[in-house]
Subunit: 319 residues, 2 copies
Amino acid sequence: MGEFDLIQRYFADQIQSANGVELGIGDDCALLNIPPGECLAVSTDTLVSGVHFFPDVEPFSLGYKSLAVNLSDLAAMGATPRWVSLALTLPEANETWLADFAKGFFTVADKHGVSLIGGDTTKGPLSITISVKGTVPPSLAIRRSGAKPGDFIYVSGTLGEAALAVQQRLHQLPLEQSSIQQFRKKLEFPTPRCELGMALRGIATSGLDLSDGLSGDLKHILKASKVSASVELTNLPISAELKQQVTQSQALQLALGGGDDYELCFTANAADHEKVMQIAQDLNIPVTQIGVIQQGEPQIHWLQQGKTVSLAIEGWEHF
Amino acid sequence: MGEFDLIQRYFADQIQSANGVELGIGDDCALLNIPPGECLAVSTDTLVSGVHFFPDVEPFSLGYKSLAVNLSDLAAMGATPRWVSLALTLPEANETWLADFAKGFFTVADKHGVSLIGGDTTKGPLSITISVKGTVPPSLAIRRSGAKPGDFIYVSGTLGEAALAVQQRLHQLPLEQSSIQQFRKKLEFPTPRCELGMALRGIATSGLDLSDGLSGDLKHILKASKVSASVELTNLPISAELKQQVTQSQALQLALGGGDDYELCFTANAADHEKVMQIAQDLNIPVTQIGVIQQGEPQIHWLQQGKTVSLAIEGWEHF
C-alpha cells in the first residue's frame, strides 16, 4: 500500500473546503487564508510511543488525544482553532489501526471545527507530530508575559486525575475500578479548553495550558512576566474522587507535579474576577482562583490556609 | 538536561524578531503576521532514520537536508519562505550531535531568510518533522492542477545523481571516488529552488518538486490537471559525470525513478518559453524543456528521438 493511498483513504476524504482553506491536501503545500486583522498562531508537538503514551494504547484514544493536546496550546493563546497538519510515523500500514486512529482524530477535529490540511505518513517507530494552526487578533492573544502584580491566578477543571491514571498503570495501585475508569478517561480524552481561551481574550493577562504539572508550568508565566506568585493549596481544584483514593500529600503531588491535565492556567486583573466567573458559568467549565501574582523573583510561594509551607515538586522533563 | 534547556541552547538564540514574527519560541504558540493580500503556504515532512536517511549520516548534513527538502515544497508553490517549526526526536541529548545538526539547519535557514518559530524536542528513535511556512498571493501560487495541453514541461538542474549516491552506498558500486563525492553532495546538500519558484509566479501553469523521481512525480501533475504528457528522453538533463559512471539504461532509471533530486518540474505556456529561459539565465539555474503537455489520460508517453518507447519505471513508495 503506497504512502499516497494511505493518506487518501483515511484522511483526504475528510478535508473541508470551507474554513479558509484555499487549497487542501494533495499539492506541495496547503494554502490557507487568514482572516483580516488576525495573525496566525502555530503550535507543534510530538508524541512518541513509550515516552508520551503507552505502546499498547487504543488507536482511537491516541488519535483523539494527540489532536486534543495540541488544540490545548491554541486554547491557551485564545486563538480560534482552524487547521491541523498530521505527520504520522508507523511501523506498518495496519488498516484497522489507522481507521481507529483517524476516527479518534476526527472526533476532536469535527468538534472544534478544525480542518486537516496536510501532513506526511512515513514508515518507522510509532510517533505522531501534529502542528495546529489558529488565528487571533495579535493584540488579544493571551501570552505568558502579561501577568501583573495583584492579578488573580486561575485554573480550569480539576487537577491530578490524569497523573494518577499514569501512576496506576505504572505501579498497579490498588484503586477502585470505577475511579480508575474515570481517571483513565481524563488521561486518554483530555478536553482542550478552546471556548474558554477564546472567551478570555482581552480579560486574561497571561495564560498557558497545564501539560507538565501546575508547579512547573506556572513558573513559565512567572519567568516570562517577571513576577512572583502565591498559591493557596487548599484552593487547588482536586476532585472528591481523587481525594478518596490517595493521601492528601499524594493528591498535592499529583495536582502540582503530575502533568497531563491540559487545563488552562491564567491570570486576570482582580477587578475582572466577576467577568471571569461569569464566563466560566456561561461555558459550564469550572474555573477556580488559586492564588495571586506578586512582585518579586519568579517563584511560587505555597500557602496552606494562609501560612507558608515548603514543597518539593518538579514538573515533567524529557531526557 | 531538560527539554527546555535543549531547545533554548541550540535554537532559541537564533530566533529573529523580524520577518513577520509577532511572537517566537517560548509561548504556547508562535504568532505570525501574514502580508496583506497573501495567503499562508504550509508543508510538513517527516524524515525517519533508516528510511529517509542512513542512520550514520553526519548531523550537519541531516540538519541541512531536512530543512532544504521542506523548503523545496515552498519553492514548488512559488511561495516566499518565511518560517519553520522543528520537531526533533532523539534517542539521547547528545550535545555535539545537536550543535552540528543546528549548524546545518541554520545554514539553510539563514540562506533563505527563514525564521525558526517553534517546535518540540522529545526522546525517542531519531526522526525529524519539519513544517515550513511561506506566503504567496493565492492567485499566483503554482498548483499541480493548472497544466494545459500545449504547455511545455521543464525541469531545473540535473537528475539522477542523488539516486546514484544512494545506490553506491547500498551496493558499493565501483565508481570513481571524485564522482562519488559529487553525487553524495547532491544527495546530502540539495538546493531548494526557492528563487526559481518565486520568479515563475504568473508564468508556470503548474509545478511540483521532484522528491520521488520524475516518472512518478510528473504523474501527480497529469492527474491533478487531467492531461497527458510526452517526454523526450534525449532531452532529460543528465550530467556528463552520471553518464560516465553508468550505462544509458541505468542513467534513465536513476533520472526517472530514483528520487531525491529536489529539482522543480513545471509547465508553462509555449508562448512563455523565452521568459522561462530568461529567468533561468538571470538566476543562473539550468532549466531544460523535456516535453509537452497533451490532451488525454494522465499518462507519460516516453519518446526516444521522437519515437515512442516503453519504460517500466516506478517512483519511490514507503511501506
